[in-house]
């Protein structure tokens, strides 16, 4: 099982950052490779079990299902249902934790999945850099550093 883990600090209170993250249909607003997204069957984006169908700027299409969402602990867990990537059993979590000394936010984005050994490092780097870190960098800019 391969694991990706990316974490950073955002200069805004966790509640403000969470308002952006908790929108399961909001990837186009903060994850640069994502072009457009919709929730299938007209369900609300915070209904656990809902599916987001989204496309990347390169034309790839993905479907992901919301497995868990907590406004109390500020985490969101989801799985990939369909994607062009050569991986299976993909489950990812975004989690926010307040940093009490300066009203900042500690953000963690992690994923676990199965793949063949020859694809593992490429997938870890691609997901960690192009998706997770690029999304976090957008949030850092949006909240001033």
């Amino acid at each position: 099982m391969a694991r990706v883990y990316v974490s950073s600090v955002i200069n805004a209170p966790a509640a403000k950052v969470w308002a952006r993250i908790r929108d399961f249909n909001g990837l186009p607003n903060w994850v640069p490779p994502v072009a457009e997204s919709r929730i299938e069957n007209g369900e609300p984006a915070d209904k656990v079990g809902c599916v987001r169908a989204f496309s990347l700027r390169n034309g790839d299409r993905l479907r992901e299902q919301l497995l868990g969402l907590s406004d109390f602990d500020m985490f969101c867990t989801y799985s990939i249902l369909d994607s062009p990537m050569p991986l299976t059993s993909y489950v990812a979590t975004v989690r926010l934790t307040p940093i009490t000394d300066q009203e900042r936010t500690f953000i963690e984005w992690s994923a676990e999945f199965d793949c063949t050994p020859d694809k593992e490092q490429e997938l870890i780097d691609g997901i960690g850099t192009n998706v997770f870190m690029s999304g976090i960098d957008t949030l850092k800019r949006a909240f001033g550093g």
């Binding site: 974490s7 000394d101 900042r104």
Partner: protein
């Protein structure tokens, strides 16, 4: 039951910060309120269930027991056994997480306890400010945690 949480970012790699914090007998080397500390019965400081007996700068004496220690999770828990301060059922948790963006560390220190009615806020402030936040600031300036070349 009051719950106190303090967290911060330390500009040092997480393995170096953990090397400092995992020493259950090391707080007298950095914490401004701790005068002297020793592990009872000659046990190793990373033996789960060992007890540290320490004195504060004001002379008061406390005993705390190590409840858990994980080098994998970089976390530890301990409880107060004896204290002149009215903190009862006190259990504290320390955990570290890597900040991969910049090779820094996230450090959270959390405690829960009961107190005589009416003293919750006062004692929560003592624990959160005088123990946790003051300890974090002292650790932050330890020479072994300064970035090389900084």
């Amino acid at each position: 039951m009051p719950r106190v949480i303090r967290s911060t970012i330390i500009d040092a790699p997480v393995d170096r910060l953990w090397a400092v914090l995992r020493d259950f007998n090391g707080h007298d080397k950095y914490h401004p309120i701790v005068a002297e500390s020793a592990i009872e019965r000659g046990y190793a400081a990373d033996k789960v269930s060992c007890v540290r007996r320490f004195t504060l700068q004001d002379g008061s004496e406390l005993r705390e027991q190590l409840l858990s220690l994980s080098d994998l999770e970089m976390s530890m828990s301990y409880c107060l056994l004896e204290t002149p301060i009215p903190l009862f059922n006190y259990v504290a948790h320390v955990r570290l997480l890597p900040v991969t963006d910049g090779n820094r560390s996230f450090w959270q220190w959390e405690g829960r306890f009961t107190t005589p009615a009416g003293r919750e806020q006062e004692l929560a402030d003592v624990v959160g400010n005088d123990v946790y936040a003051a300890g974090m600031e002292a650790v932050r300036s330890l020479p072994e945690l300064q970035m090389e070349g900084a």
